[in-house]
Symmetry: C2
Subunit: 199 residues, 2 copies
DNA sequence: GTCTATAAGGAGATAGAC
DNA sequence: GTCTATCTCCTTATAGAC
């Protein structure tokens, strides 16, 4: 933001409009006005509306959930699995609640069926990374005899589903305090979940 | 369908287009063509595009999940709780997979953030009925000492979340066989779920 | 209840001056 | 890199004949 880059600004404002009105419902005109330039100037940076959309998706696809969530600090807590799970879920929910991430999920949910530009945008892809991380965590817990010998795939699925539903339900509201309510709910569920799988 | 009703036909085709392209992405022209009349003729039945959308939502809101799922036949199986849960989930997934219901969920996911016509369209509202039914079921099981004394709210939430995620993930694909894959996954999860809560 | 014709405006996109 | 001006097409919606 220090060195205002028009191209970057366009994708930011476009993400704003796309995530609020959908791809079809947002117009180049509105985006240009939000950026502070004329529509025609947009075409100096992107060759079409679809091109802007693809740029946004490209940024979205280049993120790595693992890097954002599973840092060393968290991994140090593995010897306290209950706390580890809580912090893991808490970190995830906080990350999901960052402004851009919220917009991305909204856009994903809106455009998953429309297939603009023959580009796939699927919920599966979105939760699969989380699923994989959970599978790893629960496998490890079972191997170390911390958790009961359940199928790690099923545990991962249940954990993922819980986080996904609660997250999805709180995407519409914009209140700042909302995240604390979500964190409370998540905490209760993680606590229950851990108690039912721990040895 | 025996007595072709133009008004009904319009909402049907509109639902088709809305659920595939979103509200903003579908045009009266396309809908009229699908119905087999001119755009102007649409306005004999609805005063605006938004009016069509509201008619669709009104139909969607008038459904009752309970009536469609919880009939006497199913309730007779309550003395065999494992089978009951399986059939309950199976019925629900089959109902969710009916063409119109699929379209409704797609439309809901797409338009939950746009607020066309100041009408609320929320995922919460969608899953709340299911949540309530599950809460009742699990409360009853606990009271009758069939299930462990867990918090029925949490059990209901986990059961709902599981069904919702799996359902959401399979909304994009149109293959007829897909429902069998979904039913298999659900079956596995319900089985696991029941085993972990039964006395 | 459907048609033709048309209005009025917004959409995406381009040309060429500065 | 942004501007003005313009093109072409599509959008929702209305008027009035049949």
């Amino acid at each position: 933001m220090k060195y205002p880059n028009t191209k970057k600004l366009i994708t930011e404002k476009a993400l704003d409009y796309f995530s609020n009105h959908g791809y079809a419902g947002a117009s180049i005109r509105q985006i240009a006005r939000a950026v502070g330039i004329r529509e025609s100037a947009i075409y100096n940076h992107f060759k079409s509306k679809e091109d802007i959309f693809l740029a946004i998706l490209s940024e979205y696809k280049s993120r790595s959930l693992t890097k954002k969530i599973l840092n060393d600090e968290l991994l140090d807590e593995l010897d306290n699995p209950g706390k580890f799970l809580q912090d893991f879920a808490g970190r995830l929910v906080n990350y999901w609640n960052t402004p851009n991430e919220r917009k991305f999920i909204r856009l994903l949910l809106m455009e998953q069926f429309t297939k603009v530009g023959s580009l796939e945008l699927s919920v599966s892809e979105y939760v699969n990374e989380l699923r994989g991380i959970c599978r790893l965590i629960f496998s490890e817990m079972i191997k170390n005899n911390i958790a009961k010998k359940y199928d790690p795939d099923i545990l991962a699925e249940q954990f993922t589903a819980l986080l996904f539903l609660i997250r999805t339900e709180h995407l519409s509201r914009e209140e700042k305090n909302d995240i604390n309510i979500v964190l409370e709910i998540i905490k209760k569920h993680v606590s229950f979940f851990w108690n039912s799988i721990k040895v």
